[in-house]
């Protein structure tokens, strides 16, 4: 990896190799297990991350979330999705 991955609408995000999405019974929370780090996911973060399957584009994920969370404005959802995925990409937790 020599260049930063910049997440855009047509990016196809996925969890980076060797990170794991895992439900933790002890804390009743979805988590991402990554090298020497654990990330606790709230309901919104889980809704986003669980849709990053390496097949769907960011645009498709946003569309799916709009249907799942009726009433939320699309531009707000898109901003949140891009921000979260970019942040995880910068932390090496997600790839695209």
């Amino acid at each position: 990896m020599t260049e930063r991955t910049v997440i855009q609408r047509d990016s196809v995000p996925r969890l980076a190799a060797h990170t794991r999405l895992r439900f933790d019974k002890a804390r009743d929370s979805w988590t991402i297990q990554a090298p020497e780090r654990s990330f606790m996911l709230d309901a919104i973060a889980h809704a986003i991350v669980s849709r990053c399957d390496g097949a769907a584009t960011v645009e498709a994920i946003v569309g799916d979330l709009c249907r799942a969370f009726e009433g939320a404005p699309r531009d707000v959802i898109e901003t949140d999705v891009l921000k979260l995925i970019q942040d995880f990409a910068d932390k090496g937790v997600m790839a695209a």
């Binding site: 060797h18 933790d24 804390r27 090298p35 020497e36 654990s38 910068d90 090496g92």
Partner: protein, 370 residues
């Protein structure tokens, strides 16, 4: 009654044996011998109990964990119970066949230590000729196996000026993450404090280098930077709070709240050979001694950061003040903070003598033999 959370991670110190002799080793001065080490089945039981208790990650450490020939079995055992597995290694004993077996067992991440950015310094600091070269080979094996890699650099006055080159090396070997950790002063590192303590000017240069690199390498390399406590104004949240997030098992099965906890006189540690990990986590006097905020003196007790830094580091309070129940003197609010700053100024200005290398022998004789 203090609320007891589930631990996040187990640090499994499989052995104290190690081919390297780094003078800041976090192992105790009294290194445990091979005859004291837990058997494979004992480790496997402890690993299962850690997962049951709520641990999500396991860090296989040492000493050098790859000297244990059952490492693969233990990694497989941890994988089976859903733990995220991390190997913390010097890399000098890794070869392709071993790497392959570890990956097959489910290993998910490797943290590889470097003692410097180049061989001359690295081999001298680790006291192992040819070590640096072997580490570069090990990095290739890890990346060829497709595993993510963290490059760990312990920094101090004798290599701090190479920080830029260390970060370049981390990128060159394909590391995803670099851990730039200033020496923490317990045990062996205290014996070598004057040989290791950076100056304030060195610290400022390190901070500038890290900040610039974080900007330049955003999305390429994640950089974790551990500052030297002696120059801090607020203490580190040591272990995320005593008995709150981590447990550490020593090679012989002693269960410790942190890897340096044995430096604190008067604490008694339970052994996972005798009691379950769950019982120890909940009931052990050593874990409960500094858990939560009830033990705190002033200025911690009324401080609005008491649940952020949890009073800092108990081992440091003991090492410098002889009392683990005091505020970590790394805190600017500690009445002893000025003393700590003086120590750092004196040590960093003193001429650096030879290292006292980490070896198996009577530690009370170590100093005088050099």
């Amino acid at each position: 009654m203090t609320f007891i959370e589930a631990p996040m991670a187990l640090l499994a110190e499989l052995t104290h044996r190690c081919p390297l002799q780094c003078p800041y080793c976090s192992n105790p001065l009294e290194l445990e011998r091979v005859a004291q080490e837990m058997r494979t089945d004992e480790w496997l039981r402890a690993i299962r109990e850690a997962a049951d208790l709520g641990c999500m990650q396991i860090h296989f450490s040492g000493g050098e964990p790859t000297v244990r020939l059952d490492l693969e079995t233990l990694v497989a055992g941890a994988t089976e119970v859903g733990l995220y597995t991390n190997l913390i290694t010097s890399g000098v004993l890794l070869d392709e066949a071993r790497m392959k077996r570890l990956v097959e067992a489910g290993l998910e991440h490797v943290q590889l230590s470097f003692q410097d950015s180049e061989a001359a310094g690295g081999d001298r600091i680790g006291h192992y000729t040819g070590g640096h070269e072997k580490k570069l080979e090990a990095a290739k094996l890890v990346r060829a196996a497709g595993l993510p890699l963290t490059a760990n650099f312990v920094v101090h006055r004798q290599n701090a000026d190479h920080l830029e080159a260390m970060l370049d090396l981390a990128v060159a070997i394909g590391a995803h993450r670099a851990e730039i950790a200033n020496v923490q002063y317990y045990g062996w590192a205290i014996l070598n404090r004057a040989q290791l303590m950076p100056s304030r000017a060195q610290l400022e240069a390190m901070v500038a280098t890290v900040e610039a690199a974080r900007e330049r390498l955003r999305g390429v390399l994640v950089i974790d930077f551990v500052v030297p406590d002696y120059y801090a104004s607020r203490p580190k949240s040591c272990m995320g709070g005593w008995g709150r997030r981590f447990l550490n098992i020593s090679p012989s099965g002693k269960v410790l709240p942190c890897h340096a906890a044995e430096t604190i006189a008067g604490l008694e540690f339970d052994n996972v050979r005798q009691r379950s990990l769950g019982e120890i986590w909940r009931d052990s006097s050593a874990f409960n001694r500094f858990r939560g905020t009830g033990w705190m003196p002033e200025p911690c007790r009324s401080c609005d950061r008491r649940e952020i830094d949890w009073g800092g580091c108990r081992c440091q309070a003991f090492a410098l003040l002889g009392d683990a129940a005091q505020t970590d003197p790394a805190c600017g609010l500690s009445q002893h903070h000025a003393h700590m700053v003086e120590i750092a100024a004196e040590d960093s200005a003193a001429e650096a003598a030879e290292f006292v290398y980490r070896r198996y022998r009577n530690p009370s004789r170590v100093g005088s033999e050099q």
